[in-house]
Assembly symmetry: C2
């Protein structure tokens, strides 16, 4: 679609341009924007359903309120595409060459209409509360509006924020964008209340928000611009904490997305194209191994409990698999803190919990890992997915889990390097009854040795010397073991040195005997880890050798928030390439 | 009081012994237990108000339910003293010689009636939920009961847990112990609802718990054993999620505690004694400096906002000072996640927030520090109190904040070593507008140099060489700088070496120039930090020197949960003494 084919959008360069449009023009604008979003997301991949569902509300918001004087805070912000189109960034949707120009989340550096970088859920009520309080302190006015999806309401930070926002004696408006879905279906008592409110057109006296002290408005037709404008006008400049509960349809206006809400929450490029098929056979992967493991356990062990916090798709827990697991599966909703405490207690109660979590989201539950889990030494098997350096958006980086998890006492954090090790570690973590065991599921293509791994992982912190050499020892952690193998080859080719190659397997401890033994015939130890160096694995090796003559080179990510920087560039920056490692070694051998 | 003077308690060795007592005997038992608790807590220090308030409910619980078959999970567990007395541990209250035998929190190693080690708030609903689900999976029965104080309800984990507990299709009973107080007064919308429920004898239709799907019972006389027994009998073996909201009195039965609820939440030894006075003049301390700083800012800067999460006493925010600060002070309740996100947004909105938090509780808000605060580079001044090695209970250790905070990108974490530096850092953190700055408030007696510190802390990661020597350099972080000075003396006395003494000031970065310069005339660098070594400050120094000939010795705490181990023993264990450090140095010089 070219600019001259969007009849209304071509007149809209900023929110002020909406003010003079008729309802009919606003509706046309919505249609034009919908087409752009569908085309762009189907080209680049991205969040489809959330953006189609919030389109009309975004138009109505900018029609009624005056951004940036009135402030809008997006929760998660993966529903900000319509907002970007209306706030000076339509080029990123009109021009395929500019599709990647803007991030998929709010970004203050892109526009004064974006207040925060946001990508984790459940933060908007708190953030809005701070903006409103700052406004009041300075004696200013203007509206502060938070846009919060129903899925985010189960998160502790959202509930803390709402509880506090309700006590402000001034303007704060929380729009609850209720499409009756998280990524998958919602879980938690509050969702029954939302349902009751929808079914009573907002009239039920049993009202979660009112119990907290909010004034409350309900809009049943949450994709009807005219109705939304009417209510937004009513609450604009209101002088007390107010909820506007709008009932929207996820994927609105795209039939396949309306009918397949979970699949169309976030899509891969080309999903809508004719050749795309949902029935593709996927090759064996670390995810498929996990699923097979879990489904087998479900057949034989009544005590299995799989716990997940609202991201079933990440782990391949499709609706079919969830149905198969039945009572052995709990989705706690977006509630990672609860997920860990709950899992700890499941274990204490004699169940056998497996908690699957993304590296980026495990950040939400440090204190629960420390206090509820590790201090109590509960035997949980925790699977950490997607850990590693990547070209991700800055809000979803997965490089911080090693410092976060591995410095907690009692935790055992394992890093498998191949299929057989992973399966063996899974069995150990699941069957043992002594301690929390986390596994960093490799974030790479499956590697199989073909011979089963019979290691006894209850013997903690025993590293595996895969190849014994001399002068240089390479310790390659988890999915960087293969980088270690390649570095070994490069060092052999370049310097003629047969390096020692070590698979440490344990992130959380030092194999003092093996490290001590290296002192006799090695001068340099190289550590490789797929995560941030600061507070990570390699530094512990270096500390061990601090009082010796051993030189140690640590490789991993720098402590920084990277934002959609291609992986290859990061590997160069961090010198995570065999030839660069060999280069660094030159002066030490 | 000796055993033969407690007429009823001498018959009670475990909960079963309660079953045959009359109501009159149970009331006498309460009186006897109250006297024991008052005497013990006044001798050892500890939680007074919470235990006096929950005494009758504990007796009623054990009279009606069958622990440990029926399971009780304490939230925070600082109200477990009556439970300990009734579950085989009365010796710890009868015999002054045994006063310190049992910890002040639930402890599974002490008794089968204690399910979890707990000391942080807001966890009980989640933990109970896991126990209940495990029970159901195994096809067993029995009651699972959580005892949650009203103060804990504002915490995200509590709300996540309640939201999930409400969806269980089986027995789970949450007792809300509502004494209308957190440590100080409560803050948050939910507390207005609790008030409404108390004022309507539980009859209001506007009921927070019912909106989540709970069945609901109310007991107005929450210190009346007979009334409690009546209701507990009604809910015992109930087959669905149920709230029992009991209205108790904090400090019940001790007039001074009833009248001074905040002061008697936790008391120092001897508080009840005649010679004790509340009007003691305290000497100048890091806390008093902070208070003076804040009160001065409040006079001159309309933008000041002091944020605190329900522990005002820790920072000396007495009710007088809170009143003085007025609109410049927010207590968000137990809601550390919200506190950080809220503070970040206060800063974005142009206010000047100061968030004061205890090291142990900053653990509850890692993701918010990373995403809401540091990713957005909001200029918050965060004051971290009590960080360091201590003889604390295992649930309140303060040694993990350096790895937790300092490995987050964009954060600047400062470690002052004396009064003047602290004041200078405070001014910098407060006045700057560029980034989040945390300060680790020294956890030791005040040290003053007498000359003001004019360092420009916006020049990041510039260490201060306090004394230039040779061969050995000592880097003493924060309140361990003085240990560095003593180690320097010891090294001089023992080896005749004039060591270099460095005050790094910045925890979050390396002064590469200074460290590089040490290479020319030093052989050994010693790092000292008052916290866990794993993931901490010293390891980063060691990594810097990994490819050089410099030897590095890192001193700090081992990665372990210690439980009331005296500080002096820990200092020995970790070799944090000048003579031990010199001993380690011997082989390297």
């Amino acid at each position: 679609m070219l600019l001259d084919t969007v009849n209304v959008l071509n007149k809209v360069n900023n929110p002020q341009d909406l003010k003079t449009l008729s309802i009919s023009e606003l509706n046309t604008l919505a249609d034009e924007m919908r087409e752009l979003i569908i085309k762009k997301v189907n080209t680049t991949g991205g969040h489809m359903g959330p953006n189609l569902g919030i389109l009309e509300a975004t138009i109505a918001f900018h029609y009624v309120f005056n951004s940036p004087y009135d402030k809008i805070v997006f929760d998660v912000s993966h529903q900000c595409y319509p907002h970007k189109i209306l706030t000076g960034r339509k080029e990123g949707f009109l021009n395929p060459d500019s599709y990647l120009k803007y991030t998929g989340y709010t970004a203050p550096e892109e526009s004064e209409h974006d207040l925060f970088k946001v990508g984790h859920t459940s933060t908007a009520a708190s953030l809005a509360c701070g903006l409103a309080k700052a406004r009041d302190l300075k004696g200013e006015d203007g509206n502060v509006v938070a846009l919060v999806g129903d899925g985010s309401l189960s998160g502790g930070e959202a509930l803390e924020g709402l509880d506090n926002a309700a006590t402000l004696n001034s303007n704060i408006i929380i729009i609850i964008n209720d499409n009756d879905m998280s990524i998958a279906e919602n879980h938690g008592g509050v969702y029954k209340n939302l349902q009751e409110l929808r079914e009573t057109n907002g009239q039920s006296q049993n009202n979660f928000f009112k119990t907290l002290g909010f004034d409350y408005y309900y809009v049943d037709e949450g994709n009807n611009i005219e109705k939304l404008i009417e209510t937004f006008k009513q609450v604009k400049d209101i002088d007390h904490p107010t909820i506007v509960h709008i009932h929207t349809q996820k994927g609105h206006g795209l039939k396949v997305a309306e009918e397949n809400k979970e699949a169309f929450h976030w899509i891969m490029p080309g999903t809508l194209d004719e050749n795309s098929s949902e029935n593709t056979e996927y090759p064996e992967s670390y995810s498929s191994l996990t699923l097979d493991f879990i489904l087998n356990k479900a057949k034989e062990d009544e005590k299995l409990m799989v716990v997940n916090a609202a991201t079933p798709g990440v782990f391949g827990f499709s609706s079919d698999i969830r149905a198969k697991l039945g009572k052995h599966y709990t989705d706690v909703g977006i509630a990672e803190e609860h997920a860990v405490a709950y899992s700890s207690a499941l274990a204490k109660g004699g169940a056998k919990p497996i908690f699957a979590v993304m590296s980026s989201f495990v950040q939400r539950t440090y204190d629960q890992m420390s206090q509820d889990l590790c201090l109590n030494n509960s035997p949980l098997a925790m699977l950490v997915y997607w850990g590693g350096i990547s070209g991700q958006d800055c809000t979803h980086l997965c490089v911080f889990d090693i410092p976060l998890i591995s410095n907690i006492p009692n935790m055992v954090y394992l890093a498998p390097t191949n299929k057989e090790e992973y399966l063996s570690m899974l069995e150990y973590a699941y069957n043992q009854n002594e301690r929390p065991v986390a596994i960093r599921v490799p974030n790479c293509d499956l590697i199989s040795t073909g011979s089963s791994d019979n290691t006894d992982y209850s013997q903690l912190n025993k590293y595996k010397m895969v190849e014994k050499g001399g002068k240089v020892a390479i310790i390659g952690l988890g999915d960087f073991f293969e980088l270690g193998r390649k570095a070994k080859e490069e060092i052999k080719n370049r310097f003629g040195i047969d390096s020692t190659l070590i698979n440490p397997r344990f992130i959380t401890g030092i194999d003092e005997d093996m490290l001590e033994s290296l002192k006799s015939d090695h001068d340099v130890v190289i550590t490789l880890e797929n995560g941030v160096l600061d507070g990570g694995f390699g530094e512990k090796i270096t500390r061990f050798y601090g009082n010796s003559n051993m030189k140690v080179l640590n490789y991993g990510a720098k402590k920084e928030f990277t934002d959609r920087v291609p992986e290859n560039i990061l590997y160069d920056r961090y010198r995570l390439k065999p030839e660069l490692i060999a280069e660094d070694l030159k002066s030490l051998i």
